[in-house]
């Protein structure tokens, strides 16, 4: 058994102000609201801000939610696939703006990155760090060709954060996880330096469903729970159809699934903590109940984790 366990003690999310609706795309691209809604579930999304500004806002909300000060944080892990510069890491900018004094680094596992970050945070706590701030923040609109109707309607901007805190091993709440990548699938979803996101939608759809199902199953097995034990599913918010297809195969209902993609689009690292915050606000999960987090993204990466909820 590890020396320490960890649990989630704070959470927060941030979205830019500008709302871009499907109707807005209708006006400038050959697409329409019905097509976008049927194939993706997305009605509108937010664009604007920067990876660091959204991250700082989400993190400040998480700190307030946890009743903590910047000095209480022992490590910052930023998941992002849209860093502001090649060098240095964007986590440094965020660390300074939040007034943190701890270490900080970026990780990039694309849209699975937040769950990767959660597991990294848990692991750092298991070896002695007292509290880890895990942020997922992305501004995908900056690497999306706004004239390409196949991607412009999907990708958007947003951020979310959680704070993990050390517990006694018997109170550990991060119960089981699975992290993976299949690097042979780089060509189906990628973005070159200075370029735009390129995606083979149908292939990504298929791979995403398969990855989510297998990864979620592994995480649940390792946590010693079954689909019936899960009170809340927090999947990566890329496409409602992927979530429905994966849920069907896993025996998970849409009623207990957190969905924000209808108003956020795909915000990559931001999506899982955005969906978590919204679900908690709606009262979809109670202390002691199990949450299944599941993400997948370019790489192709995947990551799932089962967490017992409650401060």
């Amino acid at each position: 058994m590890n020396m320490y366990g960890s649990k989630v003690v704070g959470w927060g999310a941030a979205l830019p102000d500008e709302v871009v609706t499907n109707k807005d795309f209708e006006a400038r691209l050959e697409t329409n609201d019905a097509w976008i809604t049927e194939r993706t579930g997305i009605k509108e999304r937010r664009m604007g801000g920067t990876t660091s500004s959204l991250a700082v806002e989400a993190a400040q909300k998480a700190l307030a939610n946890a009743g903590l000060q910047p000095s209480d944080i022992g490590l910052l892990v930023l998941s992002t696939t849209t860093p502001e510069q090649t060098v240095p890491a964007t986590s440094g900018t965020i660390q300074a703006q939040l007034g943190l004094t701890c270490g900080a680094f970026d990780i990039n596992a694309a849209c699975a990155g937040f769950v990767y970050g959660l597991v990294v945070g848990h692991s750092m706590i298991a070896t002695g760090t007292e509290r880890v701030l895990v942020i997922g923040s992305d501004t995908l609109s900056k690497i999306t060709d706004q004239q390409d109707r196949s991607t412009a309607v999907l990708f958007a901007d947003g951020a979310g954060a959680v704070i993990l805190e050390r517990t006694a091993p018997e109170d550990n709440a991060v119960l089981g996880w699975d992290l993976g990548v299949d690097g042979s699938l780089v060509p189906i979803l990628y973005c070159d330096h200075g370029g735009y996101l390129k995606m083979e939608g149908r292939e990504v759809f298929k791979r995403a469903v398969l990855a989510m199902v297998s990864s979620a199953k592994t995480a649940m097995e390792r946590a010693g729970v079954t689909a019936d034990d899960i009170a809340l599913v927090v999947p990566h918010q890329a496409n409602i159809r992927i979530i429905e297809a994966a849920n069907n195969r896993l025996g998970l209902s849409m009623e207990k699934t957190a969905i924000v993609l209808d108003t956020t689009g795909n915000t990559s690292s931001g999506s899982v903590p955005l969906a978590l915050s919204a679900a908690v606000e709606k009262g979809m999960v109670n202390p002691g109940e199990y949450i299944l987090f599941s993400g997948f993204g370019a790489g192709m990466t995947w990551a799932s984790a089962v967490v017992r909820w409650g401060k």
Binding site: E38, R39, R202, E203, F205, V209, A245
Partner: protein
């Protein structure tokens, strides 16, 4: 496996994934027009067929597969 049995298995997959009545799954049925299936429905159908028949279908093979008949022929060709 005889042809009728294979098609029955194909039909079960289509009914399950596309949520259509079995009598609509006929050779000449067009996925988009007759079965109201979009591109993602087709991907899901392919995944179901892959599982059911233990076959593998590449994305490139789906070009011009617009009808039940064309999809069925694709599956049958993989069972030979």
């Amino acid at each position: 496996m005889d042809d009728a049995k294979t098609f029955e298995q194909f039909k079960e997959c289509a009914v399950k994934v596309l949520g259509v009545s079995p009598d609509k799954v006929v050779m000449e049925a067009n996925f988009a027009e007759d079965l109201e299936a979009d591109s993602l429905d087709i991907v899901e159908l392919v995944m179901e067929l892959e599982d059911s028949f233990s076959i593998k279908v590449e994305e490139s093979e789906l070009e011009n597969v617009n009808t039940v008949g064309a999809a069925y022929e694709l599956v049958k060709g993989k069972l030979a």
